[in-house]
C-alpha cells in the first residue's frame, strides 16, 4: 500500500501543518511509514503553498509524490496551479467557498471547512477541520490516530478548539458524497 496525498492552499492557511499532522498520524500513531515535504513561495502569507505526504506500509524510496491519490484544495489559486497533478481516479476534496471555480467535469467532495471553523469562532482552525474532513472521506487512517496527532501538534490552550474542528470536519466528511 502506498498513497500519495497533496494538500494545497495559500500561505498562512496551515496546509503544511495539515500535511504534517496527517504524516505524524501515520508514522507515530499508526504503524506506517510517511514522508512529508512542502513547497511554498518566499511570502509569509499568500501565494500558493503545497504540502505533500506519502504514506506507505513499506519503505519509501523517492520521497516526493509522482502521482496523486488524494488531492485537497483550500484556495482557488492553488487549485488552478496544481490541478494538473490529478488522475482520473484521484479523490478530490475542496472547500467550495474557498475554491468557487471548481467545475472540472468530474465528481468532487465539497466540505465547507472554513464555515465550520468560523462557526467555532476562529477561522484559524480551517486546516484542522479539513484534516477531519480528509479522515472522514478517505479511508486510510484511523480517526483516533489522527486526533492524537492533532492534539500532539497544536498549542495546549487551543486543544479543545482544534478537537472540535477535527470532529466537525470528520462528521461533515463522513456525510459528504462526491458531486
Amino acid at each position: 500500500m502506498k498513497k500519495e496525498i497533496r494538500i494545497c492552499g495559500f500561505g498562512g492557511q496551515g496546509v503544511i501543518l495539515a500535511g504534517f499532522i496527517y504524516g505524524k498520524a501515520a508514522c507515530v500513531f499508526s504503524d506506517l511509514n510517511a514522508v512529508q515535504s512542502q513547497s511554498y513561495g518566499p511570502e509569509a502569507r499568500g501565494g500558493a503553498a503545497r504540502s505533500e505526504v506519502i504514506i506507505s506500509d513499506e519503505k519509501i524510496g523517492y520521497p516526493r509524490p509522482t502521482s496523486t491519490d488524494l488531492y485537497v484544495a483550500m484556495a482557488q489559486e492553488a487549485f488552478d496551479t496544481y490541478r494538473h497533478d490529478i488522475r482520473d481516479d484521484t479523490v478530490i476534496i475542496i472547500d467550495p467557498d474557498l475554491v468557487p471555480k471548481h467545475d472540472i467535469g468530474r465528481p468532487i467532495y465539497k466540505v465547507k471547512v472554513q464555515k465550520i471553523a468560523e462557526d467555532l469562532g476562529n477561522k484559524i482552525v480551517t486546516n484542522i477541520a479539513m484534516v477531519g474532513a480528509m479522515t472522514g472521506i478517505y479511508d486510510l487512517l484511523d480517526p483516533e490516530a489522527v486526533k492524537k496527532a492533532v492534539i500532539d501538534s497544536v498549542p495546549k490552550r487551543f486543544t479543545e478548539l482544534n478537537i472540535n474542528a477535527f470532529d466537525r470536519g470528520y462528521e461533515a466528511g463522513k456525510n459528504a458524497r462526491p458531486e
Binding site: 508514522c27 518566499p42 524510496g61 523517492y62 520521497p63
Partner: protein, 394 residues
Amino acid sequence: MRYERDPERIRRVLGEKVQFIQGDMAVTYGALLAGVSFFGGYPITPASEVAEGAARLMPRVKGTFIQMEDEIGSIGAVIGAAWAGAKAMTATSGPGFSLMMENYGYAIMTETPCVIANVQRTGPSTGQPTLGAQGDMMQARWGSHGDMTAIALAPSTVQESLDMAIDAFNLSEKYRHPVCLMTDGEVGHLREKVVIPDEDEMELIDRVPATVPKEEFLPFTNSQTRDSKVPDFPTFGSGYRTYVTGLTHNKKGFPATDKQKDHEELIRRIISKIEDDREALTDLEEIQLDDAEIALVTYGASARPSETAVQIAREKGIKVGMLRMRITWPFPIKQVNELSKKVNKIIVPEMNLGQMVHPITEYAAKDCEIVLAPKVGGEMHLPVELVEILEANL
C-alpha cells in the same frame, strides 16, 4: 564549568522516542545524543533549522549556543570550544561552507575534533538558497589548500541524519579530525519517522586525554599511551602546556616551518591516521547487486530516486543493482573497484554536474564504462528519468 553529558536530561529534552521530524532537526537530535555541548553557527537556508533546534535545545541540556557574526567566526569558535574540551559543532550550507574552508584546514592541521553539518545546496556563490543539491562533495574533500584528507558522511533519510550525527562526533573524536556531515536541502527539509536510540543502543567515543607525565608529553605525534597515530588530547586548562598553530609544527607543537622532515612527517601522519583505516571507514549499502549487470553508485538524497528506479527497472527485467556510500570520504576504493569488475556499466546519479563521479572513474576498472547522470536546478532525479537512463545504457 565542565559539561557533563546527562543522558536522562537529554532524553527528557528530546521527548518521545518515536517522532515525525525534519532531517535538519534530526541532525540536532543526534548531536545532543552524542554529547555536543557547544554550537557556534550562523543561519543559512537550508541549514537554519539545525541552528534553530540547537538554539532551543542546547540551553536545556546545559550546553552553549552562540550565533556568531558569520561562518568564519562560527568555525573559529567551534575550534576554540573543542580545545577547551567540548564536543563542538556548526551547521551551514554552500556559501557558508566556502567561508569556513580556511579554518577547516586549520582544524585538520591542529587535529581538532569537531563536526561541520553541511545541508548542501548549489552554487557557485549564493545559487539557489531554498533548494537542495550535492554541491560540496569535492569541497569537503579538497576545499583547503595543501595536502589533506577528509571524513564525510552522507545521510539519505531523516533517521540516518540522526544516526550519522552521532557517528560524525564519534569519528571526529576518534581521529581528532573535523568531520563533515554532508546532508542536503532535500533530506534536511523532509519530515520522516525517527526512532531515538536508547542509551544501550549507542556507542559513544571520546577523545583520549593526555595522561603521561607532563614533562614527557608530546602533543603532535603518535599517541604515547596507545598504538595509534592519533595523539592524546591536552585539553586547555588540564595543565599540559601546548602550543597550537596552523604553521608546520614539530612534535612539541612549535613552528618548524623550514624543516622538510618535520613537515613531511606531520602531514603524512595526519593523512595516514585516517587513510590507514579506510576499511573501517567504509560504510556501504548494497541493493540487488548479486546478479547485476549494471549498477547505480549513489549517496545522500540521490539514493532515494535511485532505489525506486532499481525497483521499477527490476520489474522490467533489467538486471540493475545499487551501491550506496554512507561514508563518501575516505572513498571506498576497493569496493568500487570490485563492483566495476562485476558489472558492465556504472551510472552515477548526482545533484550536481559531476563530483563523486571522478573518484569512481579513477578507481574503477578501465573496461567498465562510467556514466554520469547529473541533475541540477534544485530538484531530485525522477525515478523514471533514471530508468530511462538505465534503458539507454543496456
